[in-house]
């Protein structure tokens, strides 16, 4: 029996109940996880895992509110590894708005947001409608001539890397409206 090597690692994110599991691009279709095979499926079924979302290069998993990753991390890791060996057994429904909002928020919580905040600015992202996300710069960035430039370069580059199919719907000074088109798998 030759088991395929599953490329996978866990990263911490701002939300303590979530863990971002990094997988190779294209392992799974992008969207909300409805059902997963094997033990992972059982973890969803019995409520241990509250939700799952697949972005371009990672699977986000949320634990139930009262549980902690220190106790369940290893089990979830093993289950996820098994499940990734059978990508066709997953049931994932498209949820472009949710995915885009998640990834954008993650970036804003991380390096891109840090960069903006270090310059005295503020940034937020909110969902609009089903699949659009509006990113708003504030603070010192409101009157900064480079604001638009900043948004575009840093945010868009990172976003595009993690969300193929990203479209810029509208740009208006310090506000950027984004949408996630259908992703070619």
């Amino acid at each position: 029996m030759t088991a395929p090597v599953i490329v996978l690692h866990a990263e911490r994110v701002a939300d303590p109940h979530a863990v971002r599991w990094v997988v190779p691009a294209g392992s799974l279709p992008v969207g909300r996880v409805r059902r997963a095979p094997g033990r992972l499926g059982e973890l969803f079924a019995d409520g241990t895992l509250a939700a799952g979302l697949v972005e371009g290069t990672a699977v986000w998993l949320w634990l139930r509110e009262d549980l902690a990753w220190t106790g369940h991390g290893t089990a979830v890791q093993a289950a996820l590894r098994e499940a990734l060996a059978e990508p066709d057994e997953w049931s994932i429904e498209a949820a472009p708005g949710e995915v885009l909002h998640l990834v954008t928020s993650d970036l804003l919580d991380g390096t891109v947001g840090d960069f903006i905040r270090s310059h005295g600015g503020s940034v937020s992202a909110r969902r609009v409608g089903d699949d659009e996300v509006v990113v708003q710069l504030g603070g010192a960035c409101e009157h900064c001539p480079a604001a638009g430039h900043t948004l575009r370069l840093r945010l868009m580059d990172e976003l595009r890397r993690r969300c193929p199919g990203l479209t810029e719907v509208d740009r208006d000074g310090t506000q950027l409206t984004l949408s996630l088109g259908p992703v070619a798998t």
């Binding site: 490329v7 996978l8 690692h9 990263e11 190779p24 990753w69 290893t74 590894r81």
Partner: protein, 659 residues
């Protein structure tokens, strides 16, 4: 192959296990990483020259601990754990690491550290991550230190450290040997060890799964593999070429021996002149006869005679340090591995034995580079047989009595041929002894397979070379200023006591006005003489009389003392021409009375005796420290004494039949 640790001399051993009392209450960091990850260099950089060396209780594994300051005023203890590839131990070294990290059982032999520095070599990351995954299971705070990042860049490799850190879930600090910035960052990071992030989910440790984890982490970190080290390959294609490489190797060995005999000569001249001047100064300015005699003979003469060889020893250490620093010694080990395998050893043992040509002490410490504990022991037992610089004064003295300077054997100087034969015999004996010990210790554990990672060629850093030479030379100097000085002084006292009054002298028929006669009488009836005569039964078959016996007994402390001792005895008989006095010494009583004392058979016996006997307390001390108990130095001393006695008798018999 690695750089030796500093502070190799003063050892506080941790015989009973656990930290020294002064370290209680201090935060402990442990440095863990695979061999060749730059651990030793980092440890030395963090702790400076203030590391304590010792031994882990009960095993032949060296232990290194040092202190450093982090943050503003906090002093912490840093322990350099033995290099290990994983926490599945296959050798005593690796078992130690497992024991230290065993947070569950608090092994009484060692202390669990408060935080860990895991060293990863940036050029071999894929392989090294398995160790990190295992270490992360311990739950201890971890900071990854990334070494050889300069090599990675030079070979077109790449890594996004921030992304790598995020993917691993722990702080990552890149350091480059010799650059202070990385170290400063590390120091600051260490100050905040209590708040080091830990991975949200510990990585898997199953070998199949950990490969996937490593691949994922490296991809996230934007790792680009370094290319083949082309510079390395080009140099190696010459240095390891069957013909050129062998030639280069032989040339290097030739350079070694040239250093021993020729290169140091002018420097030795200076030292000699310096001590002669000092001796004259003493004689001229100190008018208390006994003090003058004491200072000029015992101190200046004794110490001076030994320090004359310091330039040689220092030059040898410099040569070894340079070869080591460039990475050439690993190639030498590769070239010599097959030869060493005949003695059951491996190529790196050759390096240890080569270092022993300067002094067995750094040679024995060099055995730390051998992964197998059995190999370390066998090499340790054999190292003292290599002709160290301390034997040179003895050999030179004896050979010059035996053969006149102009004597020739064919086209070569006779003296040169004999010296070469002594060196050769020493080396061959060392190999044979190592083979025997290897066979005898076959019960003490599985045989580690041979493997050697070829390190990249580097330009050795001056600071590192200076530090290594200083470590080795200071061990020699310590020996000189403590053991040799003490032995020489004690001997001088024993040779000149008891004092004889004029009445006693006259009664014995000695002319009290003749200083030489008085001195000779005093020595002949001194305490030292009594001791020398007491052990005559042991050495009589070898042709030694009480004067030689005192010399041998005193040389048990350090070989060089033999020359000082004989010098004092000879000077008593002929203050103007002590060398002459030696050639003219006659056997005093017994069946050979009247014959020259230093005839060919006796000299042959003496040479062979000095070749094999373990006459160096410093070596005994280092053996004890490196092997962890008195058992091995005791075995070494005993076997070498027996061997020396038996072979000296054989030499005497053979030469006696030929002459």
């Amino acid at each position: 192959m690695g750089h030796p640790h500093h502070g190799g001399g003063a050892a506080t051993d941790h015989g009973g296990g656990g930290a020294a009392a002064a370290d209680l209450g201090l935060t402990r960091f442990a440095v863990i990483g695979s061999p060749n990850s730059g651990k030793t260099t980092l440890f030395n950089a963090l702790t400076g020259l203030h590391a304590k060396t010792g031994n882990y209780p009960g095993v032949t594994v060296a232990r290194f601990e040092g202190r450093m300051r982090i943050g503003d005023r906090e002093t912490v203890v840093v322990e350099d754990l033995p290099g290990t590839y994983s926490l599945d131990p296959i050798s005593p070294d690796e078992q130690i690491v497992v024991d230290v990290l065993d947070t569950d059982h608090h092994n009484v032999r060692v202390d669990v550290p408060d935080a860990l520095l895991v060293l990863l070599n940036a050029t071999t990351l894929r392989r090294s991550l398995g160790l990190l995954a295992q270490v992360q299971q311990t739950g201890l705070p971890i900071c990854v230190v990334l070494t050889f990042t300069d090599d990675l860049a030079r070979r077109n490799g790449q890594l996004d450290v921030a992304a790598f850190s995020r993917a691993l879930g722990v702080p990552v600090v890149p350091v480059v040997a010799g650059h202070r910035d990385g170290l400063e960052v590390l120091r600051e990071e260490m100050a905040g060890y209590r708040s080091w992030s830990a991975p949200v989910v510990p990585p898997p440790t199953d070998p199949a799964e950990v490969t996937g984890w490593a691949e994922s982490v490296l991809t996230s970190g934007g790792y680009r593999l370094p290319e083949l080290d082309r510079r390395n390959s080009r140099i190696d294609s010459v240095v390891l070429n069957p013909v050129l490489g062998t030639a280069i190797f032989l040339l290097t060995m030739f350079l070694f021996f040239q250093t021993i005999f020729t290169v140091a000569a002018p420097l030795q001249g200076y030292v000699e002149a310096g001590f002669a001047w000092l001796g004259d100064l003493v004689a001229a300015h100190i008018h208390i006869p006994w003090l003058s005699a004491f200072l000029s003979q015992a101190v200046v003469g004794g110490i001076g005679g030994v320090l004359v060889f310091l330039p040689q020893i220092v030059l040898l250490f410099v040569l070894i340090a340079i070869l080591e620093g460039t990475g050439y010694l690993a190639r030498a080990a590769f070239l010599m591995d097959r030869v060493m395998a005949r003695a059951g050893l491996e190529g790196r043992a050759f390096v240890a034995l080569l270092s022993s040509l300067a002094c067995a002490i750094p040679g024995i410490m060099a055995t730390r580079s051998l992964p197998s504990a059995r190999d370390r022991l066998a090499t340790m037992m054999a190292a003292p047989l290599m002709t160290c610089a301390a034997r040179l004064p003895v050999y030179i003295l004896l050979v010059s009595i035996l053969l006149p300077a102009q004597a020739r054997m064919g086209p070569f100087s006779a003296r040169g041929v004999v010296m070469f034969a002594l060196y050769l015999l020493g080396a061959v004996s060392a190999m044979l002894v190592a083979a025997v010990f290897k066979k005898f210790t076959s019960r003490s554990g599985p045989q580690l397979p041979f493997y050697m990672e070829m390190p990249p060629y580097q330009v050795p850093r001056l600071k590192t070379i200076a530090a290594e030479v200083w470590t080795a030379a200071s061990a020699f100097l310590r020996k000189v200023t403590s053991i040799i000085l003490a032995a020489t002084v004690v001997l001088w006292v024993l040779l000149n006591l008891p004092l004889r009054s004029d009445a006693e002298l006259s009664a014995a028929g000695v002319d009290t006005g003749d200083e030489t006669a008085v001195a000779a009488y005093v020595i002949d009836h001194s305490y030292a003489a009594s001791v020398g005569k007491a052990v005559e039964p042991v050495f009589a078959p070898l042709g030694f009389d009480w004067r030689i016996n005192i010399g041998i007994l005193s040389s048990l402390a350090a070989r060089e003392v033999f020359v000082a001792t004989l010098g004092q005895v000879a000077a008593a008989e002929n203050p103007e021409e002590p060398a002459q006095a030696l050639t003219e010494m006659r056997v005093q009583d017994g069946p050979n009375a009247g014959r020259p004392l230093f005839d060919a058979p006796t000299i042959a016996a003496l040479l062979v005796f000095f070749m094999y006997a373990l006459q160096c307390m410093s070596t005994v001390g280092v053996m004890r420290r490196e092997s962890g108990s008195w058992k091995w130095p005791a075995i070494a001393f005993s076997y070498m004494f027996v061997l020396a006695w038996v072979l000296a008798l054989a030499a005497r018999t053979v030469v006696g039949a030929l002459v």
